[in-house]
């Protein structure tokens, strides 16, 4: 039960990952009732970094458990973004990817 929630709208301000979840509502009048559910997912943009380790260049992505990460790359910031074939689900640890020998690339990470 959401205490005091008797209005048709619920405002969640300054959300965090803890606000993720299902929010179910039931509307009732003298003639019946109806229910529905909003699935809310709060995502946190990762602080990605490129680091050189010996002769390798590594892309590090800190993750949060349960969030899905998709890496995209391009050679032109304005166009041509290509997603890596496999997304991955965060495990709360930092994930590392070797991006050596790729030439000049731009990377971005989408979190869902």
């Amino acid at each position: 039960m959401i205490p005091g929630q008797t209005q048709p709208s619920l405002v969640l301000a300054n959300v965090t990952n803890a606000n993720s979840g299902n929010y179910a509502f039931t509307a009732t009048n003298d003639l019946g009732s109806v229910s529905g559910t909003f699935a809310v997912k709060v995502v946190t943009p990762p602080s990605c970094a490129l680091t050189r380790v010996v002769n390798d260049l590594r892309l590090s992505i800190p993750t949060l458990e349960g969030q899905t990460y998709t890496v995209e790359q391009t050679t032109n910031l304005l166009t041509g973004w290509v997603a890596w074939p496999a997304s991955f689900v965060g495990n709360g640890l930092t994930n590392y990817f070797n991006v050596s020998n790729s030439g000049t690339r731009f990377y971005r990470v989408r979190v869902e």
Binding site: I2, Q5, T26, L31, A39, K41, P45
Partner: protein, 479 residues
Amino acid sequence: MNAFARFTKPAQPATIRGVGWQAAWCCLLVIWLGAVTAQGQTFRDFFADRQTFTASSGRLDQSNTNATIEVGEPKHGGKTGGHSLWISWVAPTNGVVEFKTEASGFDTLLSAYQFTNAGGSTFADLREVARADDSEGFEEESEIEFGVLAGQRYEIAVDGFFGATGEVELKWDFDPLPSPPPIILSSPTDRSVKIGDLVSLVITLTNSAAGEFKWYFNGNELNVTTTNLVIPSFQTTNVGRYKMRVSADGLQYFSVPTEIQINTDGASNTLAQSKILDSPSTPLIGSDGVGPLVRAVPRGEVSASGGDGGVVRGYNGSQIFNTTFAVLDPAEPTHCGVPAGKSYWLFYQPPTNGTVTLDTVGSTYDTIMEVYTFNGALNGYQDLISIGCANDSFGSNGPARLEVPVVKSRQYIVAVDGVNGSSGTAWLNYNLSTAVLPTPPTLTATPQPITVAAGSTVTLSAPVIGSAPLGFHGVRTVR
């Protein structure tokens, strides 16, 4: 019932010497009143414990917070209380006595009783002599006056309107008369009549030869000097408050006002009320004509349905009333956001599901209307759920009109108020149609998953439509 609401004395000759003597008398009175309380006499919670006062004037201050009501105790002021205090007072001689709760600081009720027989001692033996809730112009104060006979005992009760509590300040003052005054035994009750009805308002008195009488309508004197006021064909201009002045040996006092309204549906017990908590006691109960009306009929009156169970009521009609004496309650919500302060409340239970069209067409002043309902018990303004309001529906400074889906099993309260405190004769017209029925809540769209970035604000709005009042509750489950 012998009941009075206002007491006046003829003006005394104003001389410097006279003023000085009055001031001196007041000083002596204060000292004497102190002697009353110094005797240790107080209000008592239990009727059987009440103490007897014989002083012709006095004052008692005491909280009713811890007072209770007893089984069988009458409703003081004719209304629901909950924390009553009692005294017994004996008239020193023939005259007129006034009791009032002036400066009590909360909404009081006040009644005076006498035993119907010499050996009476229980509530069942009491006959109400006078009653008051809000005195005209004083709002929360209660005030009664009545003629008394030498040596007779009167039981005085003070209570709080619907459980109100606070510091009671009861004052009384007695004026003697050389001979017994007229004693009112019964006054007409508030009721609704139909347009064109013969209305007869009868005050029953004893010793009527000792007095002179004059009727008043909405505060204005009528040229009627008998104890029976007859209106051969009642019209909308006749709705309002009636009272009779009794004059005896230079003293004047008034009967309890009687409010007469019009209900074109023939619902004689239906009344719009100045106080919201009074409205459930005089509702407009709809009937579809297939069963008896559930409205209780006061003892001694004939059922409005005639017992045939076939009356169709609550579909079309008008409740017509006068709001001149509406109580200004500072705690009352502002209807439609418009400054007002002269509201009347009509309690309505529709006979079937449908859409009721309400308007105030015909009113003699600029009206506002708001429709409320409530869930569970109605204990005050905090329980109201607004389901529609209207102002100036046909143009500026004009009547209000709105349509509201209604459900048979639900109770509604319609508030009619006057813009900027204006008042007059109000028409509340109702027309219930079954062509458009109230609807259950339905989803207008399927809620979609929402992904948001941390730190942002999310508003979840239930995509639901349905007839008011819609109640919502929410549950959050872990992802």
